[in-house]
Amino acid sequence: MARILIIRNACVYDPLAGIDGEVMDLCSRDGRMIDDVKGRDAVELDAGGRVTMAGGVDIHSHIAGSKVNRARCLRPEDSSRLVRGRDPVAGMGAGSGLTVPSTRLTGALYAEMGYTTVIEPAMAPLKGRHTHEELADTPLLDTGALVLAGNNHRLLGYIRDGQEELVAPWCAWLIHATRALGLKVVNPAGNAAWEWAKNVNALDEPTPHFDVTAAEVLTNLQNAAAALKLPHPVHVHLNNLGIPGNADITIESLRLLGRNGQAHVTHLQFHTYGGGSWKDFSSRAEEVARELSRHPGLTTDLGQVMFGDTTTLTADGPAEWHLGRINHLKWVNADVERETGGGIIPYVYRSTSGVNAVQWAAGLELALLIDDPWRVFLTTDAPNGCPFTRYPEIMTLLASRKAREQALDDVHERASSATTLPSLDREYSLSELAIVTRAGTAKRLGLGTKGGLGPGMDADIAVYDILPDYVDDPKKLCQGLTRAFLTVKGGEVVVRDGRVVTTAAGSTLFTRPRYDDDAVREDRAAFFRDHNTITEANYAVQDDYLPRPREVPCC
């Protein structure tokens, strides 16, 4: 028997379908949206005119994998800062962790905010199995992972040896082997240099041993993603993250990437700094936003900082080393055999710190200065800027100038003096919020059935306890976005009144580009024989690791 769900009187914001606040009835059948609203034995719910959007789609949030798990180990104190007991109603297991929650709590916290899809942006290939095990154990969400490819020794070798035609097939094999959704590059050439205790500080600075530059890595991966027709273009974490004055290399990189085609440049806030030291640290968001806007092939996400305790974790080993020198808290460095690096450090962003205040303001500046909401998305690079649970606060800051002014009062004056934030009037509409949190992200990830509520789309729906006339009350908006009135995942109600009511498992999204395996097969066999600690058969993620696989087609 068909499962039919009807939601009546929903005030729908669906930018993909061009619907902007129209009260209508929604209907899903067997997990897909359908056009006509009818059906016997349907479950009927009344949204009472509340704001309704497609389920949220997060393009960049660290929720699974070796880094996240090691952060949980490094920070037992994080587990004591948010504890939730077993929920007998939802059948939900207990969970803990404020910034790196356990898998089940991650699913619940996202679902309560109306999110239904989350992409883990940094899977080390060697840790692919672990990553998929955690994703499979994260309920209530469809998930997927991007594979770290930018500092892979074999790729760097191909580029060095002039065999650039082999980059695409090697990347394709990597995506197949790790069941990934796309390609990620972190600190191009810099991470490889970190294995020699070095970093690269310019696009044309060669990495030791390979003599390959960040510019070469970026363009090659961009070309590979285009050649393989991947649903999501290469996902780029630029060089010199978090360093004063890094806006120079960022603007140069945007120019390079923009001229060469498509790319998603992630957590741009961390790459948008002026000044030459921590003393004259400032935001150059205006220039960076202008440069990004110039190149139609580029999109970005914020990496917004919010004040409080969080965990920074990234594949960018050298960046974490620098941060560890500054804040002097516990530090983990990880080196994943010839593929990538990693580092983890707890961090407390303080509103009384001039540097942190500029970081906070810079993210908001980017969101407000990039005119086209289809090209800038809401993320916090969770948990690097802050835990994802703070999205509602950020959405409120984007939607309300009043909220920003109130916030600025409590923040170090450099948020006002070293940025353009106080002069920005723009306020996001509900439609624009829907774009930066679901429609835009889904489109950019190539998830054709997500981000909207038109016929044929996945029945992932979020109804927020907000009436469309919220406008003058930022507090109400924030509360409404924090606890969804209803979250529907695959046609099933999973959250009611801000509370998880059932544990539905999500799917794992992955892609399978077509490529010529013969081109790299022998080379790969030799590579595994001569250089790896494990065999190729033990390296690849087997189908068993994806209990609910869902292929995303290449373009």
């Binding site: 490094l74 920070r75 037992p76 104190e77 994080d78 004591s80 808290l329 516990k330 707890p346």
Partner: protein
């Protein structure tokens, strides 16, 4: 004059598995009579049970924590989290108390007449914790993994204590009349510690604060001799010396002070 009401708890049928009883706290008892106190939840292993299952309750609490005195008549060595987070009032254990006694308390007075388990006064913010017997490990320390220990209040132990007492301490006073374990005041940032003796590694990686050891002690090589004094005023007492003064820990560019009584 404040009217203080008294609640007496008599341990009955103490199980082999630990009880977690953060509800035994003046703040939670406040405004309740014995029947409602008996119904308060505590954890026996992974099961939620009623306080009355393991304690006989007599008397009634005052209207607020500050007017409530709780007396536990007997050994409760396996009952954890007694007085956790208390902000006022009094809790007396006429016997041995379990782990996490008085952890994160911010006011009031907690007295244990016997020994006390590990993590007593963990991340304590204020108030007074008195242990007539000996304390376990991590007395007044930071929670596992955290980098802020005790920030205020006063802990006084008549006997000895275990390792890492005052770890990450950032304020308040910690007095151990007997001998401490290794790493007394490790990572200490602020506050003051007095102990009769510490076997080794006192003040390792300390960045600030004051430690006084009332006898010869092995001083880490990362502490720099910094003269001598006759007396030290600390925690409202004048301790007579002579004391050798050290500053450190230089591996952390620390500005902590260590006094060691000579002779």
């Amino acid at each position: 004059m404040l009217t203080v009401r008294k609640v007496v708890l008599r341990p009955i049928d103490q199980p082999a598995v630990g009880l977690e009883a953060e509800s035994i706290c003046p703040d939670i008892f406040a405004g309740k009579a014995s029947d409602r106190i008996s119904e308060l939840p505590i954890w026996r292993g992974n099961r939620k049970v009623a306080l009355g299952d393991h304690f006989e309750v007599e008397g009634r609490a005052g209207s607020i924590a500050g007017r409530t005195r709780i007396v536990i008549e007997g050994d409760v060595a396996r009952t954890k989290r007694l007085g956790q987070g208390m902000t006022g009032g009094e809790l007396v254990v006429r016997g041995t108390a379990g782990m996490h006694t008085g952890s994160s308390m911010s006011g009031g007075r907690l007295e244990v007449e016997g020994d006390c388990g590990d993590w007593a006064g963990m991340a304590m913010k204020g108030g007074e914790l008195v242990i007539q017997g000996s304390a376990g490990h991590h007395l007044g320390a930071a929670p596992p993994g955290d980098w802020t220990g005790m920030t205020g209040g006063r802990i006084e132990v008549a006997g000895d204590c275990g390792v890492e007492a005052g770890a990450w301490m950032a304020g308040g006073t910690l007095i151990v009349r007997g001998t401490t374990g290794f790493f007394l005041g490790v990572h200490m940032q602020k506050g003051e510690i007095v102990a009769r003796a510490c076997p080794r590694r006192v003040g390792g990686e300390m960045r600030g604060g004051l430690i006084v050891i009332l006898g010869p002690v092995h001083v880490l090589p990362s502490f720099v001799p910094d003269g001598a004094v006759d007396d030290v005023d600390i925690a409202g007492e004048r301790l007579s010396g002579p004391f050798a003064r050290y500053s450190g820990d230089v591996t952390e560019k620390g500005k902590g002070t260590l006094f060691v009584r000579e002779g």
